[in-house]
Symmetry: C2
Subunit: 288 residues, 2 copies
Amino acid sequence: MSKLELWFGDQYEKEKGRYLQIKGDNVLKKVISSFQEICVVETPAFGKVLINDGIIMLTEADEAGYHEMIAHVPLCVHPLPLDILVIGGGDGGTVREIIKHSSVNRVDVCEIDKMVIEICREYFPKLANSFNHKKVHTFFEDGAKFLENRINQYDIIIVDSSDPIGPGTTLFTEQFYHFLFRALKEDGIAVTQLESLFWHTDFIKSTFRFIKKIFPIPYYYYTMVPTYPSGMIGFSFCSKKYHPLDHLVSERANQLPDLKYYHTDIHRAAFMLPAFSKDIFKSIKQGN
Amino acid sequence: MSKLELWFGDQYEKEKGRYLQIKGDNVLKKVISSFQEICVVETPAFGKVLINDGIIMLTEADEAGYHEMIAHVPLCVHPLPLDILVIGGGDGGTVREIIKHSSVNRVDVCEIDKMVIEICREYFPKLANSFNHKKVHTFFEDGAKFLENRINQYDIIIVDSSDPIGPGTTLFTEQFYHFLFRALKEDGIAVTQLESLFWHTDFIKSTFRFIKKIFPIPYYYYTMVPTYPSGMIGFSFCSKKYHPLDHLVSERANQLPDLKYYHTDIHRAAFMLPAFSKDIFKSIKQGN
């Protein structure tokens, strides 16, 4: 191991006076694409780490909790998920989970930055090999533009985006959520990456103001990812017809292979949020 | 605000190649007690932060999730909690939550380092004012020695300790858990601070090997605390008679005032753990 200590961390959170510092052994890749700087760093604590524009996208050690929860929660609620769209998700982790569901006919992936996929194919094959699956079709476009003319096409749309800065900005607007609604079939579900309940509370609050107007069944759920800001990250669950707990198809969930994080009890638990957030979301009552 | 940037973080995690860096505005207090270095730093992100021996003990911004969950989970499960012991807990946050339960007759606090209480009285009065309550009695001793000769005395013992390094080391041994068992009444519950499921998995695993031998009802639950390593921290729930979900007294839980984190649904959700930990703990099944 090198005696030179290389430390890196989330540049956006650093400005806020709080950020996870991670020690790197070696910078394996550093390129500038048309959209962003993409780096892969080998670390002793977390294996290989993908960092876009100075922000941690994933680490080998804890990516499963993110990808399993963004994919299996909507896929285990929809009674028959056939046509799936992933916006973002260029590392392939979300697609890897989606294709575990045998009902799925087609997975479209709209990733703005082709170079992310190329780099992940090389450095994160356990994630990006999923792009080789015959059901998977990739498109290299801005997610909002891709959605604009697609109507009533998908059972599930998963917005596996980076943060609301840089190339992902268009994926956090009210208009984009209208596009999501329109591109979904009449009983569709959209799930979007929606930041930390602890550290980005105001952003989530303002996003939920319009989500609640657009989708009849709007919820928020979370997963624990130690290398993301605050150690957790949440998702909006934007549904036209199905309730995230009442419609959970346990038999299908229980058959999923190779899970490190997801199971039906953690599916339910993920919708139970700390008391301080009760004013932001419609709360789910399980017991009393 | 000073132009000098003061950054600090958990020294123990830094050695592991991962640690939260927090920006400080000002060091309000720095003293060396007989046991450790105690610092209070004012920060823009988290308000005042208590740091003992270079390890973050609490921040004003997120201490509630820790203290509410370490206290209310056992207190809302025991049908009649009268006599409570807190080992550690010198900041007063755990006692602040315990005395919200009107059934409680007596709270003994055994804190090895008197100076922690004195400093918290000055800098964290919202927590440490709880020591003024007439039911609360403080003892300044090593927790293991305090317990050694106490038999069948407490309904609930809460071990609100620092990490298994420094003055807290004696609180993580198998012998200590035998002392806990013996000091509890025949239907008592002990809850102990037990590190991060993500980053200290092996330590938890080895501790649970003997917890399972000593207590008939051993579980693990967690709370999210963004400024602790990995953003979460767990607790052992060591019970002689009561099950953490089946015996939850919702009526009492629903009457607790001034909660930022705890409620009955998050009580239940906190016992639902990621799939990767299923080999360590007895798992709780809620649904199917």
